[in-house]
C-alpha cells in the first residue's frame, strides 16, 4: 500500500485554504461591474397575482432594472423542469404543473418569487423593492396534507385531481392481505416524519455573467451538480446550448441535498446578466433560505406489521402521504417512491410488502431530497414498528430483530420491493454496536439515573439503505429523466504531476483528499503531486454531481476506470522503452519493471515520454497520457448498520439529553477512516436534530412559523455528546473498490434509535410512540398527563 493510499487517515488537502480564510465560495466573488439582485417574494401563501407596477421602483436611486414574470414570458423563458416522472396506480402520468421562474397569475407559497430588482448595491435593491406596486388578492391556503385532501379544500394547481400529484403503489397487495389473515399479532403505528430544512451553513448564492464578445454565459452557483444545472437551465429554461453556457460551483459550504436542484435564482441572474449587460449577483439571506430552499421529509404514515407466533414478520403494509409543497422540485417525485418504498424490507426477511404513497400539493415550499432522502423515512417507520411489535409480542427488542434479519449467507438477497442487496452482515454490525455501547450494562445505568431523578432509556435501530445512485437503465425504467453514471478524467502532465477532473462535487466530503488517495495508491505518486478539480463545466468533461452517497461508489469507480486506462497505456509505453513484451511489464509502487530482469522505468519517465515522444511507438499509439472514463453502476450499494442511543430525560422539564450514541456501520471498504468517521458524526448530528430539535412548522394559513434560527432549532455543540463510531464492513460485490457509501448513513440510522430510546425512557408512562421532534413540551405533557401538550 502506498503510505497515503487506501485505508490511510490522511489529513485533508483542502483544509489549508478553508482554515486561512482563502476558501472561494460563491458569495466571495466580486465580478467586475457586478450589480446586485434582490428577489421579491410572496408574503401570502396563496394569492392571485395581477399587474406589477415597476415605475416608482425603476426611478429609485441605484436601480438598474426590475423584471417580472411578464418579462421572462416575453423572452420565451421556460419553467423549472422536474427530473423524475411517476406513474399513478392506473398507469397514467402524475400531475406535473408548470413551475414558473417568476410567478405568473398566482403565487402558491410564502417565498414564491414575484419579481427581481437589480441595483448598484443590495441595500438599494431592497429599498426599491418597497416601491413595487403589486396587485395581489389573497386566497384561502392549505398547508396540511389531510386538509388538502378534503372536498372543498383550496386547490394549489388547477388541472389535476384536487391536490393529488400522484397516487402510486409498490408490492403485492394480495399476498399481504393473505398474510394478514394468518397473523398471530398485528403491530400498528401512525406517525409523522417531520418536515426539515437542510440548512447548509452557506446560504445559496448565484452570480450570472454574460460575455458579449463570445456570447458565453457563466453561472457561478452553490451547486452539488453543476453539469445537471447546465443541462436543465440551458435546455429547458433559458434555451442556451451547453457550448455557450458555463456553470461553475466553486467551494460550496455544505449541501445535504438542498443544493442539488435547479432554482429560479440561477436562471434569473444568468438571464438578467445579458439583459443588463453586467454580472448580476444574488445571495440568500438565511430567512430567504427558509422560504426558498427545498425542504425535506414531511410524511404522514399509517403502517401495520403482521407477525406469526414466533415473532417472525409475515407482511407489512404501509400507507403514506408525502408533501410535495407548492411545486415539483427537481427530484421530488423520486424521494417518497423509489428511495422510500423500495427500502421497506429493511434488514428483515418480511416476505410480503405493499406500500401506497399519495403525493400532495400544498401551499408550502417545495419538498425534495434532504440527507438520506426517503431512506430515513423508511428506517424510521420500520424501526419504530419493530419496537412496537416487540412490545406487543412481549419479546426482547434485540431478539426480535435477530430473528428477522436477512442472514449473512443469503446474499445476494432479492427483497419483495424491487431491490437486490448485494452484501451485508446485520448481525455483525448489531453485535458490534451492542458491545461498543455496553448494552449489557444499561440497566445499571438506568438504575443510577433513577437515583438522580432522571428517566434513562436505550434505543436500537438496525437499518439498510440504498445509495451509490444509480444504474441508469433501472433509474430510467422507474421514471428518471437523466442518466446517473459518473465521469472522471485523469490527466497526467509531462513532468508526472496529475490532475483529476471529476464530475462529482465536494462540499465538505473531502474528495480532494479521498480521490487523491485512490490515485496515489494506484500510481505510486505522492499526494502533493495530485490535484483534484471539480465544479467547472468548462474543465470537466461531464458529470452528474454529488448526492445519494454516490461520489465514491460511482465517481470513485470512474476514477479507477480512468486509472486502468492510464496504466494500460503507460505499460505499452514502458514495453516500448524497455524493448519488452507488454505482457511482461509489471507495475508496482510507481515503477514499471520487466519480469525476470532488472530493467525499470519510473512513472515520471513514462509520463515525460508520453509528451516528448522521441522514442515512442507513434505508429501504434497516440502521444499524451490523459484518459477519461464514464462509469454506470451495475446496482445500488447497500450500506447498513446498527445505531444505539441512550437518553436521559429530566421529568421536571421534559428535556431529553442524548448521553451516549453508538454507531457501527457497514459502509464497504474505507478509503480514509478519518473522513468516514466525520461523515458519520455529521449525519448522526442531523438525525438527532430531527429526532429532538428540528421542526419546520406551517400554520393553517400557510405561514412559515419556523423561518429563522430563533424558531428552527439547529443542534448546537452543547446539545450533543461525543459519539462512539466504528465500522464492521462487508465489501460491495459489484464495484472494483468494494465501496458502498457513507454520506447519509448517520442521518438514516439515528432518528429511530433516538425515539426508541425516548419511548423506552417513558415506558412507565404508557407511551407507545412519540412523534419527532420529541420536544420538552411533548415529553412534559406525557409525563404530566397533559394530552394537549403531548400532542403538539
Amino acid at each position: 500500500m502506498a503510505v497515503d493510499g487506501i485505508g490511510a487517515a490522511v489529513k485533508r488537502k483542502e483544509d489549508f485554504r478553508f482554515l486561512t480564510g482563502r476558501g472561494n465560495y460563491t458569495d466571495d466573488l466580486a465580478r467586475p461591474g457586478q450589480a446586485h439582485a434582490y428577489v421579491v417574494r410572496s408574503q401570502a401563501a396563496h394569492a392571485t397575482l395581477g399587474k406589477i407596477g415597476t415605475a416608482k421602483a425603476l426611478k429609485a436611486p441605484g436601480v438598474v432594472a426590475v423584471f417580472t414574470g411578464a418579462d421572462l414570458a416575453a423572452d420565451n423563458i421556460g419553467g423549472l423542469p422536474c427530473g423524475w416522472g411517476i406513474k399513478n396506480k392506473d398507469g397514467s402520468a402524475m400531475h406535473e404543473p408548470a413551475h414558473p421562474v417568476l410567478a405568473v397569475g398566482k403565487v402558491r407559497h410564502v417565498g414564491d418569487p414575484i419579481a427581481v430588482v437589480i441595483a448598484e448595491t443590495l441595500a438599494q435593491a431592497k429599498d426599491a423593492a418597497e416601491l413595487l406596486d403589486i396587485d395581489m388578492k389573497e386566497l384561502p391556503a392549505v398547508a396540511n396534507m389531510r386538509e388538502a385532501l378534503k372536498p372543498g379544500a383550496p386547490v394549489v394547481h388547477d388541472g389535476g385531481s384536487g391536490n393529488v400529484c400522484f397516487d402510486w403503489h409498490l408490492g403485492d397487495a394480495d399476498a399481504v392481505a393473505a398474510a394478514f389473515k394468518k397473523a398471530h399479532k398485528v403491530a400498528k403505528i401512525d406517525l409523522v416524519n417531520n418536515r426539515l430544512v437542510a440548512n447548509a451553513m452557506e446560504p445559496r448564492a448565484a452570480v450570472g455573467e454574460f460575455d458579449r464578445a463570445t456570447g458565453e454565459y457563466t453561472l457561478y452557483t452553490t451547486s452539488q451538480n453543476p453539469h445537471v444545472i447546465r443541462l436543465l437551465m440551458g435546455a429547458f429554461v433559458l434555451h442556451i446550448p451547453e457550448s455557450r453556457l458555463r456553470v461553475f460551483a466553486p467551494d460550496v459550504g455544505g449541501g445535504f441535498g438542498s443544493k442539488i436542484y435547479h432554482y429560479a435564482e440561477e436562471a434569473i441572474v444568468t438571464w438578467a446578466s445579458a439583459k443588463v449587460g453586467r454580472p448580476v449577483k444574488w445571495t440568500a439571506e438565511r430567512s430567504e433560505s427558509f422560504l426558498s430552499d427545498a425542504h425535506g421529509r414531511d410524511h404522514v404514515t399509517h403502517a401495520e406489521l403482521a407477525l406469526d407466533k414466533d415473532g417472525k414478520f409475515l407482511a407489512l403494509k404501509v400507507d403514506t402521504l408525502s408533501n410535495m409543497g407548492a411545486y415539483l422540485s427537481t427530484f421530488a417525485p423520486a424521494i417518497p417512491t423509489y428511495l422510500y418504498a423500495t427500502l421497506l424490507a429493511g434488514v428483515y426477511t418480511t416476505p410480503a410488502i405493499y406500500a401506497e404513497v399519495k403525493a400532495i400539493f400544498t401551499n408550502t415550499v417545495p419538498v425534495d431530497a434532504y440527507r438520506g432522502a426517503g431512506r430515513p423515512e423508511a428506517a424510521f417507520l420500520l424501526e419504530r414498528l419493530v419496537d412496537i411489535a416487540a412490545a406487543e409480542m412481549g419479546m426482547d427488542r434485540v431478539e426480535i430483530r435477530r430473528r428477522n434479519f436477512i442472514p449473512s449467507n443469503a446474499f445476494p438477497y432479492q427483497t419483495p420491493v424491487a431491490l437486490q442487496y448485494d452484501s451485508g452482515d446485520y448481525n455483525a454490525t448489531l453485535e458490534g454496536a451492542l458491545k461498543l455501547a455496553d448494552y449489557k450494562g444499561f440497566e445499571a445505568r438506568r438504575a443510577d439515573a433513577k437515583k438522580r431523578g432522571k428517566l434513562r432509556g436505550i434505543g436500537i435501530s438496525t437499518y439498510v439503505e440504498a445509495c451509490g445512485i444509480a444504474p441508469s437503465n433501472i433509474a430510467g425504467a422507474l421514471g428518471a429523466r437523466a442518466g446517473l453514471y459518473e465521469c472522471a478524467n485523469v490527466r497526467v502532465h509531462p513532468t508526472g504531476s496529475i490532475t483529476l477532473f471529476t464530475g462529482c462535487h465536494s462540499h465538505g466530503q473531502g474528495h480532494e483528499t479521498t480521490y487523491a488517495q485512490l490515485i496515489a495508491e494506484r500510481l505510486g505518486v505522492g499526494l502533493d503531486q495530485i490535484e483534484v478539480s471539480h465544479g467547472d463545466t468548462n474543465k470537466i468533461p461531464f458529470g452528474m454531481g454529488t448526492y445519494g452517497s454516490r461520489s465514491l461508489a460511482v465517481g470513485g469507480t470512474a476514477v479507477v476506470k480512468a486509472l486502468d486506462k492510464i496504466v494500460d497505456k503507460a505499460k505499452k509505453i514502458a514495453a516500448h522503452l524497455m524493448e519488452a513484451a507488454e505482457a511482461d511489464i509489471e507495475f508496482k509502487d510507481g515503477k514499471f519493471t520487466v519480469a525476470g530482469t532488472d530493467k525499470a522505468k519510473t512513472f515520471g519517465e513514462i509520463a515525460l515520454t508520453a509528451y516528448v515522444p522521441h522514442n515512442f511507438p507513434l505508429d501504434k499509439l497516440e502521444p499524451g497520457l490523459d484518459e477519461t472514463a464514464f462509469y454506470d453502476p451495475k446496482n445500488f450499494t447497500f450500506p447498513g448498520g446498527a445505531h444505539i442511543c441512550e437518553v436521559e430525560i429530566d421529568p421536571e422539564t421534559g428535556v431529553t439529553k442524548v448521553v451516549n450514541f453508538t454507531a457501527v456501520d457497514d459502509v464497504g471498504r474505507v478509503i480514509n477512516p478519518m473522513i468516514v468517521e466525520g461523515q458519520v458524526h455529521g449525519g448522526v448530528a442531523q438525525g438527532i436534530g430531527q429526532a429532538l430539535y428540528e421542526n419546520c412548522v406551517y400554520d393553517d394559513n400557510g405561514q412559515l412559523r419556523s423561518g429563522s434560527y430563533m424558531d428552527y432549532q439547529m443542534p448546537r455543540a452543547d446539545d450533543l455528546p461525543s459519539f462512539k463510531v466504528a465500522t464492521a464492513i462487508t465489501l460491495c460485490t459489484h464495484n472494483p473498490l468494494g465501496v458502498k457509501g457513507v454520506g447519509e448513513v448517520g442521518a438514516i440510522g439515528s432518528p429511530p434509535a433516538v425515539i426508541n430510546a425516548v419511548v423506552d425512557a417513558l415506558k412507565d408512562h404508557g407511551v407507545r410512540h412519540i412523534d419527532m421532534p420529541a420536544s420538552p413540551q411533548k415529553i412534559w405533557g406525557i409525563i404530566n398527563g397533559n394530552r394537549r401538550m403531548a400532542a403538539e
Binding site: K11, R12, E14, D15, F16, R17, F18, L19, T20, G21, R22, G23, Y25, D27, D28, A30, A123, N199, A200, M201, E202, P203, D251, V252, G253, G254, F256, E285, R286, S287, H507, G508, Q509, G510, M674, I675, E677, G678, H681, G682, G683, V684, A685, Q686, S708, Y709, M710, M714, P715, R716, A717, D718, L720, S722, F723, G746
Partner: protein
C-alpha cells in the same frame, strides 16, 4: 457618508460606509476580506466571528462605525505565512472541518476560549461554542480540535 478607520490584521485601513453598514459587510465587501462568513440574519450562527480589540465578536451584529478606531483580527490574520496558528493546525489534525463555512468563526471563537482556558473540558468547549453552528461535523471533532488547540497555544507561549 461617515468615514471609519481601524487596523485589520495589523494594517491601517479606512473606508467610507453608510450608517447601516455592518462590520462584516465592511470586511467582505469593502476590504475584500472574504474569510469571514455570513450564515444567518439573526446573530445565531457565529460564522462571522472576528476579534475586536482581542474579544470574539459576531461581526454581523456590530456596525462598521462602532468599530472605528478598533483593532480587528480576522481569520486571514491568524497564520504566519504558510505556518498555521496552533488552533488552525489542531482543526486540520483532528478533522474539525468539512465544508469549511463555519470554520473561520469556529476558529476565532476557539482562540478566545483558549486565551482564558488553556485546558478546557469537553463540557466547557461545548458551552463556549454554543453560539457557533456547524451543520457538517456534528461538533465531535471540533471539540477535540479545540481542546488540542488550546493546549498547543499554551505550549507555544
Amino acid at each position: 457618508m461617515p468615514k471609519v478607520s481601524m487596523t485589520v490584521n495589523g494594517k491601517n485601513v479606512s473606508a467610507e460606509v453608510e450608517g447601516r453598514t455592518l462590520l462584516v459587510q465592511l470586511l467582505r465587501e469593502k476590504l475584500g476580506m472574504t474569510g469571514t462568513h455570513v450564515g444567518c440574519d439573526t446573530s445565531q450562527c457565529g460564522a462571522c466571528v472576528v476579534h475586536v480589540d482581542g474579544k470574539s465578536v459576531k461581526s454581523c451584529t456590530m456596525l462598521a462605525v462602532q468599530a472605528d478606531g478598533a483593532k480587528i483580527t480576522t481569520i486571514e490574520g491568524l497564520a504566519t505565512g504558510n505556518d498555521l496558528h496552533p488552533m488552525q493546525a489542531a482543526f486540520k489534525e483532528h478533522h474539525g472541518l468539512q465544508c469549511g463555512f463555519c470554520t473561520p468563526g469556529m476558529v476565532m471563537s476557539a482562540v478566545e476560549l483558549a486565551k482564558h482556558n488553556s485546558n478546557p473540558s469537553e463540557h466547557e468547549v461545548r458551552e463556549w461554542l454554543e453560539g457557533n453552528i456547524c451543520r457538517c461535523t456534528g461538533y465531535h471533532n471540533i471539540v477535540k480540535a479545540v481542546q488540542a488547540g488550546a493546549k498547543a497555544m499554551a505550549a507555544a507561549k
